[in-house]
Amino acid sequence: MELSSILLKIIDQLDGERTIYAGYHLLRGKRSGQTLQDVEYYGLKPYFHIIPNCSKEIYDEAVNKLCQAHLIYFAADSFAHTTEKGKMEAQAIAEPQFNGWNYRGRELLFFSRLSLIVQAASHLKAGEPSFMPIQKNVEVQSFVKEFARSYSLKDPVFASTLKEELLHCMEKSGMTEEQKFILIHRLSGYRLTGWTWDQLSEQLQYPVANVRLLYIESLHRILKVIEASKDMALLPKIAENIKVTSYLTESANKTKQLFEMGLPMTAIAGRRKLKMSTIEDHFVEMAINDQKFPLTQFVSEAEAQAVVDKVRQIGTKRLRILKDQFPALSYFQLRLILGARTGGERS
């Protein structure tokens, strides 16, 4: 799994309507109005926040690779397009099973919990009750402390149940053998320490970035299996509250609360000492994420429908083009309609 092929898929989906850095912000999970809208409009939720620490250098390297292979090009408007060859290639790449939108980095929290629990159980099993915790994060440590109150980690049945559940989930998730190798080698236990990214990369002969992508995808796969299952005792508990429940940024959430108290937008901006454009971004975010967003407080049903029809007919969601078609609607109104009505699949 390579960054460049994921990027090719993203660029293909953005359909020549965004600059190259839209993909960068998407992969890093930037929570700005623009990125959040793009995620929805272009059905890019799976890729959101899957490489939070992606560096410009690594990103540019992937871009250059695609350019040199004539898979993408930049048009005069500086937007990134896929070539014919690029389109075909993008279709041919197997769909990775990312689910970034739902986890946003919290998949790592899941794995940290698992890692500390495995480390503890492994030492207890070996008759060595004390060890240096590999996870220093206090949130993780207190989760595991709490967890250990409900489950007896030193019971040999605990270790074997956890092992069985892990085996079952890895099998069922459809991840590759390599991904299983990575996951299991990131765990530590008695006299068996986890491997660093460099060491995994050396062993598998892939760049570190690819190893990490494989790792993140395998976590998303495993979490999906855990969420769907009903007959496991431990892993669902360890995955508790990992899936994001509020899709709004914290700031947008505050705006939403004031809006629900009945304050008009200008009053919210005044109260929160924020620019009107920021408040508008929050509303668009709400329109995208909140199924019950009262769109018709801002536009008529007929207007909304007309915009949706137009998008289908001309096959673009570009604001400037739509604005030409609907001069009576403001950019803000258009963004609300697009957000509430034309998002990709909602999960």
């Binding site: 495995v118 492994s122 004390s130 060890f131 240096m132 590999i134 530590s188 320490t193 986890g194 060491q199």
Partner: protein, 476 residues
């Protein structure tokens, strides 16, 4: 009191190491004490032992968060659960939780920055403190290699007549540094215990080569045929990565370690090294403090360290088990300039200080002003400490004196690496000591150093990739 019986019963050690018992007796007598014991000789016992016999809480001031966390984890691992750490990495809630339960803890580790906060100080006034420990006390000295401006404020926090005894611990302090510890901590007639810095089981060699790439050749050759576990110290992160990957290609079990790596990977490397799954670490000086591994056979410096004291601390990580170990310093003539650059890089120039001062006068916060003036955070705290006490011209003088002192220190180590007399003797002289006895295996300057014992007899076991099923079965 039969301290030895307590040692055996409570700590499971057969006997005291040199110096420990005397220090512990003075602390129990309520004396202010300065203890200079070589690295790894068991300074922690000097407060853990008395604390076990005293009511109330022992407060330990420790310079590095990582070090603090390691110490807390080790104590917990050894069965002492009444330990807490207070540092800036805790969340507000976590901090509150510790502060609410202060009397419940027997040991509290704290960073100096935290200690000087009013609220924290008041909280400590309400509990019974039985002992105050300043770990790595050389950090208080501006002339030390590890100067931490916040250490200077510790003395102002506690008042002579209302405080329990203070125990200052360090591995490296010459006379000047001891005087600073005494003065700034406002100790009253402290008793000073000094054990020789000499580590008889460590042999020293210097290897001078002409060019940087010859260092690499030397390392390849040497590491390939000699025993680990070992640490190779280098000057930069980039070098650490570069050397580690070159040696790895020769099938040497090695990893690089520096502050640029993510936390989990650092923990893995540290653990692998301690467990013997990894033979070598190539690292910046970020690695070492708080590492408890007894059987390190070699410490190699592939650059000229900044100060003698720093060098001795790093070398002291070898051979804690008392077995023969080797310290090697590998350098080129160009290292002097490189090391100077690194040393002075983070001290501010006169122009920067004036710019900073000017920004403050225009109501910028110290952090903002430091950022705008391009001053590092440590430098900012140094400047702030002096600014509270003197006018800006005097501050500049102070900083210039610091820069000069650094240069003096560098000159000392440069002279050291070019010495033709016994290396051990030079080290002892630096710490105002005279050599007691000659070592059989001494140094590359003494007689031709016998290092046949270093030769590797078996290949490194290294990491074996297990198939994932086997590994999972071993884990759980």
């Amino acid at each position: 009191m039969n301290l030895k019986a307590i040692l055996q019963e409570k700590f499971g050690f057969e006997q005291f190491r040199p110096g420990q018992e005397a220090v512990i007796r003075d602390v129990l007598d309520g004396q202010d004490t300065i203890a200079i014991l070589p690295t790894g000789m068991g300074k922690s016992l000097c407060y853990q032992f008395p604390a076990a016999l005293m009511d109330g809480t022992t407060l330990i001031i420790s310079p590095l968060v990582a070090l603090m966390e390691d110490q807390v984890a080790i104590m917990k691992k050894n069965g002492e659960k009444r330990v807490a750490a207070l540092n800036s990495f805790l969340s507000y809630q976590e901090k509150q939780q510790v502060l609410r339960n202060l009397p419940a803890y027997k040991f509290i580790f704290i960073s100096p920055e935290m200690l000087v906060q009013k609220k924290i100080m008041q909280a400590f006034k309400r509990i019974q403190l039985s002992l105050i420990v300043i770990d790595e006390a050389h950090c208080i000295s501006q002339w030390g290699f590890d100067f931490r401006p916040d250490y200077l404020r510790i003395g102002e926090v506690f008042h002579e007549h209302e405080r329990p005894p203070i125990l200052a611990l360090t591995a490296t302090a010459n006379q000047k540094v001891v005087e600073d510890i005494h003065h700034y901590l406002k100790l009253s007639n402290p008793i000073i215990h000094r054990q020789s810095v000499d580590r008889p089981n460590i042999s020293y060699s210097f290897v001078k080569v002409d060019r940087e790439d010859e260092k690499l050749e030397w390392l390849k050759n040497h590491v390939k045929r000699t025993v680990g576990p070992g640490i190779i110290y280098v000057a930069s992160r980039k070098k650490a990565d570069e050397i580690a990957s070159l040696l790895q290609m020769l099938d040497i079990s090695i990893a690089s370690y520096h502050a640029g790596k993510e936390q989990e990977d650092r923990a893995f490397i540290q653990e692998q090294f301690i467990n013997g799954e990894l033979q070598w670490i190539c690292s910046t000086n970020a690695f070492g403090m708080g590492i408890h591994k007894d059987n390190i056979r070699q410490v190699i410096h592939a650059h000229i360290p900044q100060t003698m004291a720093g060098y001795i601390q790093e070398v002291g990580r070898a051979g804690r088990d008392g077995e023969q170990s080797a310290a090697t310093l590998l350098f080129t003539p160009e290292d002097e300039g490189r090391t100077r650059f690194i040393m002075q890089e983070d001290l501010p120039t006169e122009t920067e200080i004036r710019h900073y001062n000017h920004l403050l006068a225009e109501n910028a916060s110290p952090t903002e002003a430091a950022q705008l003036a391009g001053i590092s955070e440590t430098s900012m705290r140094i400047i702030e400490y002096y600014r509270e006490r003197m006018v800006v011209d005097a501050v500049i003088q102070q900083i210039n004196a610091l820069i000069q002192e650094k240069e003096t220190q560098l000159q000392k180590i440069i002279r050291f690496v070019h010495t033709r007399v016994c290396i051990r003797k030079e080290i002892l002289a630096f710490f105002d000591e005279r050599q007691q006895a000659l070592q059989a295996v001494c140094c590359s300057n003494c007689h031709s150093l016998d290092d046949t014992w270093l030769a590797k007899t078996a290949e490194d076991s290294g990491k074996q990739a297990l198939n994932w099923r086997e590994r999972l079965a071993l884990l759980l």
